[in-house]
Symmetry: C2
Subunit: 441 residues, 2 copies
Amino acid sequence: MQKRKILKPKPISGFPEYTPEIRRVEMRWIDTIRETFERYGYVNIETPSVEEAETLAAKGGDVDKEIYGLQRLNDDGEDKGARLALHFDLTVPTARYVAQHFNDLTFPFKRYQIQRVWRGERPQEGRFREFLQCDVDVIDQDGISHDFDAEIPLIAMQALNAVGAGPIRFMLNNRKILTGFYQGLGIENAGDVIRVVDKIDKLPAAEIERILTGELGLAADIAKACLALAQIRSTDNRFADEARALGVQNDPFEEGLTELAAVMDRLNASEKGACVAEANLGIARGLDYYTGVVYEAQLIDYPEYSTICAGGRYADLVGAYIKSDLPGVGISIGLTRLFAKLVKEGKISGERASPTDVLIARFPENDVLALDRLASQLRTRGINVEVYHETAKLKNQFRYAERKAIPYLWFAGDPHEVKDLGAGEQSQADPASWLPSRLQG
Amino acid sequence: MQKRKILKPKPISGFPEYTPEIRRVEMRWIDTIRETFERYGYVNIETPSVEEAETLAAKGGDVDKEIYGLQRLNDDGEDKGARLALHFDLTVPTARYVAQHFNDLTFPFKRYQIQRVWRGERPQEGRFREFLQCDVDVIDQDGISHDFDAEIPLIAMQALNAVGAGPIRFMLNNRKILTGFYQGLGIENAGDVIRVVDKIDKLPAAEIERILTGELGLAADIAKACLALAQIRSTDNRFADEARALGVQNDPFEEGLTELAAVMDRLNASEKGACVAEANLGIARGLDYYTGVVYEAQLIDYPEYSTICAGGRYADLVGAYIKSDLPGVGISIGLTRLFAKLVKEGKISGERASPTDVLIARFPENDVLALDRLASQLRTRGINVEVYHETAKLKNQFRYAERKAIPYLWFAGDPHEVKDLGAGEQSQADPASWLPSRLQG
């Protein structure tokens, strides 16, 4: 054994990595989410990790300075192509994808996408530089059915229930309620008001009111009305009456209330498991591009923790690429953010890392080719099998199985015998019919 | 409908992207490969897409100038951390991972890893800037069982057979055969000779001989012997006798022949499907770090196409990180390279993109909440269901199902009826027991 200096490898801040035990849980989560999306008939797409830097920067908004550009370490100037950068979400790539493959897609185009995205943020709790997003969107031509306003958050709830992510509050609003209400009050800078009111969960109400009357110059009663609207929340349709009681009347306001009530009705008629649907007229989702229903979800047990799922309805996905508008509704589950929090809080404990059902023991008297054939026969029947990698004392093979939590130890012979290491029982087994409990019935 | 200027989105060269139909096949391939790896008891790990640039550059060798470094587009100089870069393979990240999580792993550590890697290469056929690698390796402490020399290529063969990748030739050699042989001939610059001989499939034999006698200054009979060795190939164990007949005798040479013969015996006793195992004393795998068996696989139908799978045995994975040597055996399937070639050659045709089994038709007389409940009932039973997104004429709903190749159209009512769109037959169905053919038996 050669001795040498040891360099301690260090994790890179903001880039999560797990032991095989935790990774196995994460893989099961991803499989389950994917399965849930497919239960609703959504198709998978994947896009490259990069887009042209120009495309991303044009859409980046406040994430602009967080975009990672690529540059070869020893650039010899040979590469004359456009500057490339890692995508910071899955929306911009999807817009480009839909435009590029427009003629190959069936509309309404129901797609899901589960990929890593990158942001050069300062790492802190709930913020990562590389993270997995699970997006589900429907995109249609010109109009898009309001059915999807309810289906999209419902799919997210089903997926989060299926992985067992625990109690989650989905807060829903409709941008038309806000813009209609502000318009009815004669407010001109509705966008600014939305940005301020969106902080209602982070700042005290009095502070919000101060900003509205101060920086934004609203009259005191107008600011009070804005605040009153933002404080309305209900898990049924009472929100609509409470909002109407504030005295504003106009078409977009009424349309927004009606649309949101329809979404709440449909969600409340559905199985929501550990999720709660709450109409919350205080959430706005800062992004300009939402035009109807908006969603924002948080872990009920960790109300201080950042949003783990968000989305909404937009009037046009693809912007300059296509002649006509392509409106859509979508939601994005921040899987890494959610998963990392539950791991940190001890809500997720690693499973056994090994997928192995059976370890075939190996002794000097065994013919290795015969053990190979036995393993192959079992594998063909869907059983995950390892043949111990050398002849060794039973004790050592036993310890290996134990450390990997392999449930069965197989002794080849005539007859074969299998020891159930959990129950401690050993019995005869026929390789042509024996099944581990994982595969029984 | 708003009219505007259309920007044609363009694909970025070297970054593959598929329509949903082809992506569905790719997903099935990945699932199948993963399943195969787990059949043999290998555990999954994932590492971040980036490592510190220093770590990568130290190991990069000739890919050094192809490494993509990350830099925020509008860097404000705030980020004082180490320079980060995208990994160019999965070996360097695995080495760092094993060192970092050393105490959490069970050895022999059998791991697989399916991730994207990046290389800033000039794109050309078979070369991508972003591509998916499927790696399977066993790493042990100090020694490692020679069992794995055969198991590793066998797993790759099983995986490639399972996805139906078509006839593939696995060429095997052992570096000890080469180094022993050259040593026996009194050649001092064995590494240089290996690099030249490795080109035997690309250059004519006479040209190889010229380089050996010219640039490398070998005597004519020595060069001839090197060439003779490199031309030996057999699908059984005749290679060993032919190699011995060249008259060299020493321990490493003999050890290499014995090890390779054992691997060939084990492979030839196994089910190899559409794969061929060939001992080929002309392949060397340029990388210095292989020390025993080496593998290289190519598509038999496209012999000019680049290697689609390669690997071998190495004496130490982790270098400076750990006190003792961690030897291993591994292989990497270049999934993107392989898949893209088969797509290009028309060997892979897209499936229907949609996972939907049943489209529930929707007419003005239907209560949408009742359709939701029906859909939910079917989904709980594992059926993938869409409810048509608006009330519409049967013709339109029919066309939608047809374009997405959805096999069943469901008419809610009392009784319910289901139309099998393939067979054209319509019959009564009970939502509590009906199954699409995909889920039957």
